[in-house]
Symmetry: C2
């Protein structure tokens, strides 16, 4: 009989989540039924959407999220002992489940892709859901062409940092927004962004006009809010906006949507297309994207930086750190 520890969310987050919003609980795992596996967690992902979904789920709930683990016991021939599994079982150290059961696309499990010697943690990062989000959300919705100007917000985050690098691979000019001078340095010096701007200190409109003298063709929007309104106001005819997230409103009260400058005039005059997406839409194509992402990382075209926090006990710290913007690249926890 295996005992598992898990984080249970017991409160609606108000602003930044607090430690008291979570209970760490021990539970005995049941014996395996046919088709099930026992998985020992190795890596857990902390992502902005864990915050976003909080107001919409009945309390209490087990904190979900992507994780990677190894099969210790198996009653599933497709997942023998030793198999590495990516699942959405979240903040827990052991779990029992049937990888073939999926109540929805987000909740499904799959074998860790062949990472060709790269760190397995990338399976919840650049070669996992965040990587797929960047890949499909940017390429399928923005449909960038070489020579076009691309803007990315949340550019130093797990998704944004990959979007910007994919845009460079596709021959675009890339401008990124991030929240500190260190991140700006990192984006320009290490990741090859043509320009990065600290949105907290810059005169955004002025610097963006200088950085994008030919206007903006594609915008990958991780933040929403006033920054997005300014960026959209500088877009060119037939510009495309891929709306991935809304960090600017994650910590606001669920009942009150934030207000901002409306962008209808730009949408009409420049015939812009603005589309939101959830990456599960392309789930059948993820394996192809993972292959290409692995190749890009191996041949040095894509840097998959990780911000690693060690210890199951430090999941909460890693989560609020990520929400506060401490991470460069993908925030993961090594269990």
């Amino acid at each position: 009989m295996v005992k598992a520890k898990k984080y249970v969310v017991t409160s609606r987050f108000k602003g930044m989540p607090k430690l008291e919003d979570f209970n760490v609980v021990e539970e005995e795992l049941p014996p395996l039924k046919d088709g099930e596996v026992l998985v020992k967690t190795e890596w857990i992902s902390v992502d902005p959407y864990l915050r976003t979904y909080n107001p919409h789920i009945s309390l209490p709930y087990d904190q979900f999220g992507n994780q990677i683990g190894e099969v210790l016991e198996s009653k599933n021939d497709n997942y023998p002992v030793g198999t590495k599994v990516v699942s959405h079982k979240g903040w827990r150290d052991y779990s029992v489940f049937n990888p073939n059961d999926s109540t929805d696309q987000l909740d499904r499990a799959y074998k860790l892709p062949d990472l060709q010697g790269l760190s397995e943690s990338l399976g919840i990062g650049a070669v996992g859901m965040p990587g797929a989000t960047a890949y499909f959300g940017f390429l399928e919705i923005c449909k960038p062409k070489a020579g076009e100007t691309v803007v990315v917000t949340g550019a130093a985050g797990a998704v944004g940092s990959i979007v910007g690098q994919i845009a460079k691979i596709k021959g675009c000019k890339v401008i990124g927004f991030a929240g500190s001078d260190d991140k700006v340095q990192w984006l320009e010096k290490d990741l090859g962004f043509d320009k990065a701007i600290n949105y907290k200190t810059a005169d955004v409109l002025k610097e963006l006009k200088q950085a994008a003298p030919k206007g903006i063709d594609c915008y990958f929007d991780n933040v929403g809010g006033e920054l997005s309104s300014i960026i959209i106001s500088l877009m060119n005819l037939y510009g495309r906006v891929s709306v991935c997230g809304m960090i600017s409103s994650y910590n606001s009260d669920s009942g009150q949507s934030p207000k901002g400058t409306l962008v209808q005039p730009s949408i009409v005059f420049n015939q812009l297309k603005i589309e939101g997406f959830v990456v599960a839409r392309w789930v059948s194509e993820w394996p192809d994207a993972f292959n290409e992402l692995v190749q890009w990382i191996k041949n040095g075209k894509l840097k998959a930086k990780e911000h690693v926090t060690e210890g199951f006990d430090r999941l909460f710290d890693a989560f609020v750190g990520m929400l506060a913007g401490d991470n460069f690249g993908k925030a993961v926890v090594k269990v």
Copy 2:
């Protein structure tokens, strides 16, 4: 030598345009050059975009706009005397121009389509630019399917009233927003809208939820602003928004874009697509649309109501009346 009268705009509009913002000027028209025609104006269109473009054009300028006239003299074999011509020559009673010259798509001229006995004034309404706007903006961007729920704002206007009726022709459930109880009555009783709502007096969120219990699939947006934010918050997965106009901000100061509730959460969670357009995009396909619109009108599926003001001297009144929402359907001036 023909003398022409024309309206010249001499001021930036502040809020609602004022009579003093215009000068009525007489000018002598030049003799015809090869390719040119002399046209006597019969119908002039007043449209919301005349207001919108004002802050963006150098002063003074001749008030542009669609009009229909008859060729009185011709040095163009394609446009013999008696030909009816649709042009963008605006608020003037006579004009000389070469119909083959077009500085841009908006400015081009073309022969009045065959209206099969319908009023020629429809050539600047349901079988003109407003009709094409409704036809392409709705069908090409919203791509409505039978059984879907469609919302239209500015529903009693020249474009909105046609969009709603096309949606009915396509088998959709149609909900329209308008600014008076009389308009609401007209939309429901005469045009066959399933539901119309007076946005000035209704509890919009509550009434819209009741009218659209299955959510909203398509939204044709003529207004922007807070009303649009509420509508978008009730949209279904993969909903489509066609952004045609922004009446709510037409009369605001050019330097200050209005603020409103941001809709990023809906865009992301429901994977919405929001696209703006200018109808010139489909100009090569207008003739096919005009054919279909004429058929719909002739067989009673589409009612093309017009709000006619008589007299060249009353163009200003017709314009501000339209901006104030006096018109049911298309506002036109009979010269």
